[in-house]
């Protein structure tokens, strides 16, 4: 029954919420017979009048008609499912490959954290290309281990990319599960960093999708999708094969927020989807953290607005751990994150006196171009360039965009 309702809800926005309004609680809803459900659902299923086309521009008419097509296909599948009934739906699920699994409300591996939602997904569709036993273990880990969502813009700056990678890596090292949405930009960097050097037996990252868990969207993330599938979990509340639609992404964000103990927003413009995630997190009582950006930048708008409204500041994984009150685990591969970025800076004192030392000291204060360093260190450009070349090989500094050099954070 859960699976059937879950599938039905994949095609109709807000279905579970409406049903719960009538039924009161999930257990009672599940207890209904299929005929009762059908009776609750069908009255709304009157064919809608076609979108009026008169007086609209061609483009918007086309967009409207496409939306109409999408609606129609969703409606058709919805009706098919309704006719199929719970048993037929379950039978259909049995023919899925071993990598695909459905976790229903009543399953013990269903994450309890999702039960807090006002309109929880009645089942989760999960995919991971690993043996069934491993998949079960990963599901248990998802339900038991603390998770943190790393979200943000789809077109980040170099700084945003760096912070997303840093957080993804350090949170995973601290033993947390990194949750994100497998979108381009911050999501992708967060996933990728969490996957890097992760151990086989520990769940590192979970991607919550706004389409069926077997659908790769966006296509540009195909290789990342495969990587998450083999080392993490792909999770969706939407049934197999459900295509991506605009309304499904806010819904996906609600699951992401619910699964996590805290949400970290890295970069976002004023109207960012990541703000929706943060909004859900607040409603659910999850911690919201924001990585600050440069004042006045477009991509700093969302995090700064949230900070203004009381979100916590996040400079490194340590801030996240403190906010959600989790002790870092030593056992999760890689060193635990440093206390603060500053404390693990390569020690200036380790270097002998010379240009390299001056350069490193100057870069410790702020990122700089070679010309800036020529001024602050008083050495000629060739010497500075040489010192930077060596520091770069030693992994102490790195080159950023625009001819800037930065101290490499560990």
């Amino acid at each position: 029954m859960c699976v059937w309702l879950g599938c039905l809800a994949s095609y109709r926005e807000g279905l579970v919420r409406r049903l719960l309004r009538d039924a009161g609680e999930v257990e009672r809803l599940i207890g209904c017979t299929s005929a009762e459900i059908a009776a609750l659902v069908t009255p709304r299923e009157q064919p809608r009048p076609p979108a009026s086309a008169g007086g609209r521009a061609g483009a918007s008419r086309r967009a409207a008609s496409e939306r109409g097509d999408d609606d129609a296909s969703d409606r058709r599948r919805f009706l098919d499912l309704l006719a199929l009934g719970p048993e037929g739906c379950l039978r259909r699920m049995e023919s899925r490959p071993a990598s695909d699994r459905v976790v229903a409300w009543c399953d013990p591996t269903y994450p309890d954290r999702l039960r807090h939602l006002a309109d929880p997904p009645l089942c989760l569709f999960v995919r991971a290309s690993c043996p069934p036993a491993v998949l079960s273990r990963r599901l248990e880990e998802l339900a038991s281990r603390p998770a943190v969502a790393v979200v943000g813009t789809r077109s980040p700056s170099a700084y945003g990319e760096e912070m997303a990678r840093l957080l993804g890596r350090d949170l995973r090292r601290a033993g947390l599960v990194v949750v994100s949405g497998l979108a381009l930009g911050i999501d992708a960097f967060g996933h990728a960093a969490a996957l890097e050097g992760c151990r086989e037996d520990v769940l590192c990252t979970v991607a919550v999708l706004g389409c069926g868990a077997d659908v790769v969207y966006p296509r540009a993330n195909t290789s990342l999708y495969a990587a998450v599938s083999s080392a993490g979990l792909l999770v969706s509340e939407f049934a197999w094969g459900v295509p991506a639609r605009a309304w499904r992404f806010p819904a996906r964000n609600r699951v992401m927020a619910a699964l996590s103990r805290g949400v970290v927003l890295v970069e976002g413009a004023e109207r960012s989807g990541a703000r929706i995630t943060a909004g859900f997190a607040l409603e659910l009582g999850r911690e919201v953290l924001c990585v600050p950006g440069e004042a006045g930048r477009r991509l700093s708008a969302a995090p700064h607005q949230l900070i203004r409204e009381g979100a916590q500041l996040c400079e490194s994984a340590t801030d996240v751990l403190r906010a959600i009150a989790v002790e870092p685990l030593e056992t999760c591969g890689g060193a635990p994150p440093g206390a603060r970025a500053g404390a693990v800076r390569p020690d200036v004192a380790d270097l002998g006196p010379g240009v390299a030392r001056d350069v490193l000291a100057a870069l410790g204060a702020s990122a700089a171009t070679i010309d800036d360093l020529v001024r602050s260190c008083g050495a000629p450009a060739p010497q500075i360039a040489g010192a930077l070349g060596e520091l770069e090989i030693d992994g102490l500094v790195r080159r950023a965009e625009g001819g800037l050099y930065r101290v490499r954070r560990r």
Partner: protein, 511 residues
């Protein structure tokens, strides 16, 4: 009666001897030109007829046949007007050959209807080719004389119109143009108005460009609009070593063939700086056309080819650059011939870091979506980038640096260091067929670029840590060799190598 006079046809920079023969017989009046003439040569009948009549000569009512031998070589352009007219006058007995024999005197020039002579393209190449064939004298339009006079061993006779030309032919000599003093002309070259001392700040980029010029390395500059990329590039010819007389002649020859020589400057004494717009076609850039003309790469021979907005050029044009960058020349094949133009240039490319131009800038914010960034970067192919040794990121000069800092070095000072470094390279590379570090092959690198032990260790470490490719490593060693040359070192030390490392491309994976 039959008469003949020597002339010259050019295909590309290569001259081919042409004998212009005229025959006049008593028959039905006609005037025909044979010997594979093109349209411009066919039209020369009308110009020659008018010029002869308007110069107070007779145009008899006879059958006149002009043959341009050899008959299988295509003749193009108006430069045969003068030899045709002279052969005609000799054949009709209106002029007498005072030179006494075949092959002593040659003529080129375009005629106006009034008998005046107009300049032709490629006079220098024509004169050089005539001299090598042992021709003694050349009659040509006065405007071409200074250019042709650069060739020693050939008497150059400038003529203002057809009548003057006839006088010169009859006299068997006369007032030849004074041969030009090449070294004096070359010495007149100043460093130019654009001086590196004008560039405020940008110490790193100036230094990197000095290295680039010293080793003839190609450069790619990436930076936001207003960073000064064009300003810096324009100053590069000024720090390149002064032209030798031979180099000046080489450049002049190409510019003369392209018809770009200035009246007041018979010899190109400054290294060329060519900056074609990014809408240029592939033949325009590398050369081509029905009768192949040198492209921008050849016009930039021994100078700088500056391509601003590098990724905006047509892909075909960019890919066409690969061969000239590799071989130092361009070969254009046509049905009957294949023509080679020299193209030993220094490529200086400039681009914005992203389509909007402000990625990584400290004051502006980039608004490019990720897929546009990928598209922009992917327009430059790996093989093309492989030929660019130095990749520089040019930041904008911060406002506080825009004033003051008057201690910048002048181009002349930098040029001296470059000349010294080049001299070391020429000495070391003697016998290898290349003259600058940038052109070394990996075999030369292994044989001629000794690294000090610590430098070898550093390179190994860099190879591992920075995940360099083998080619990337070669580029770093080449540039390090140039830095060592600037410093006067025989082996590459750690500081040379580490400086070279800072001029390499930032890899896309470095987060």
């Amino acid at each position: 009666m039959l008469a003949q006079i020597a002339s010259e046809a050019l295909s590309g920079l290569q001259g081919h001897p042409v004998e212009v023969e005229a025959d006049v017989v008593a028959a039905a009046p006609a005037f025909s030109i044979v010997g594979l003439p093109d349209a411009a040569v066919q039209e020369s009948r009308e110009r020659v007829r008018a010029a002869i009549v308007n110069s107070s000569f007779e145009f008899p009512s006879r059958r006149i046949t002009v043959n341009l031998a050899p008959a299988d070589l295509r003749k193009e352009g108006p430069s045969f007007d003068l030899p045709i007219a002279l052969a005609f006058l000799l054949a009709t007995g209106q002029a007498r050959d005072g030179w006494g024999g075949r092959g002593r005197l040659a003529a080129v020039g375009e005629l106006g209807l009034d008998g005046g002579l107009r300049p032709v393209a490629g006079a220098l190449a024509i004169a050089q080719s005539l001299r090598s064939r042992g021709v003694r004298g050349l009659v040509l339009p006065a405007a071409n004389a200074p250019e042709a006079a650069l060739v020693t061993g050939l008497e150059v006779y400038p003529a203002g119109d057809l009548a003057e030309a006839v006088t010169l032919v009859e006299a068997g000599g006369g007032a030849a143009a004074a041969p030009a003093d090449l070294s004096a002309l070359v010495a007149t070259c100043s460093a130019g108005e654009a001086d590196f001392a004008d560039v405020v700040g940008q110490h790193q980029i100036k230094r990197a460009l000095e290295v680039a010029v010293a080793g003839a390395h190609n450069v790619l500059m990436t930076g936001p609009p207003g960073a000064g990329k064009t300003m810096l590039a324009r100053r590069l010819p000024g720090i390149m070593p002064p032209l030798t007389p031979d180099e000046a002649i080489e450049i002049t020859r190409i510019h003369s063939v392209a018809g770009l020589l200035r009246d007041d400057e018979p010899l190109v004494v400054r290294r060329p700086f060519r900056a074609p717009h990014h809408t240029i076609s592939s033949p325009g850039l590398v050369g081509g056309g029905a009768s192949p003309r040198p492209g921008e790469v050849s016009l930039a021979h021994l100078g700088v080819l500056f391509l601003d907005e590098f990724p905006e050029y047509r892909l075909s044009a960019l890919e066409g650059l690969r061969q000239p960058l590799e071989d130092g020349e361009v070969t254009i094949s046509r049905r009957l011939t294949s023509i080679t133009f020299p193209a030993r240039l220094m490529l200086v490319a400039a681009m914005n870091p992203c389509p909007c131009g402000y990625r990584g800038d400290r004051e502006h914010e980039c608004v490019c979506p990720a897929h546009r960034l990928r598209q922009y970067a992917s327009r430059l192919s790996g093989p093309l980038l492989d030929r660019i040794d130095l990749r520089l990121e040019v930041p904008r000069v911060p406002p506080r640096d825009r004033h003051g800092a008057a201690d910048a070095e002048s181009s002349a000072v930098i040029r001296e260091r470059v000349v010294r470094a080049r001299r070391r390279q020429v000495a070391r590379l003697a016998g290898t067929g290349v003259y600058a570090n940038a052109h070394m092959t990996s075999r030369h690198l292994r044989r001629l670029c000794a690294l000090e032990p610590e430098a070898t260790a550093l390179l190994d470490r860099a190879y591992e840590r920075l995940r360099l490719s083998a080619r990337g490593c070669d580029r770093i060693v080449k540039v390090a060799r140039t830095i060592a040359d600037l410093a006067g070192h025989d082996t590459i030390a750690v500081e040379h190598l580490s400086e070279s490392l800072s001029y390499r491309a930032r890899s896309r994976h470095e987060a």
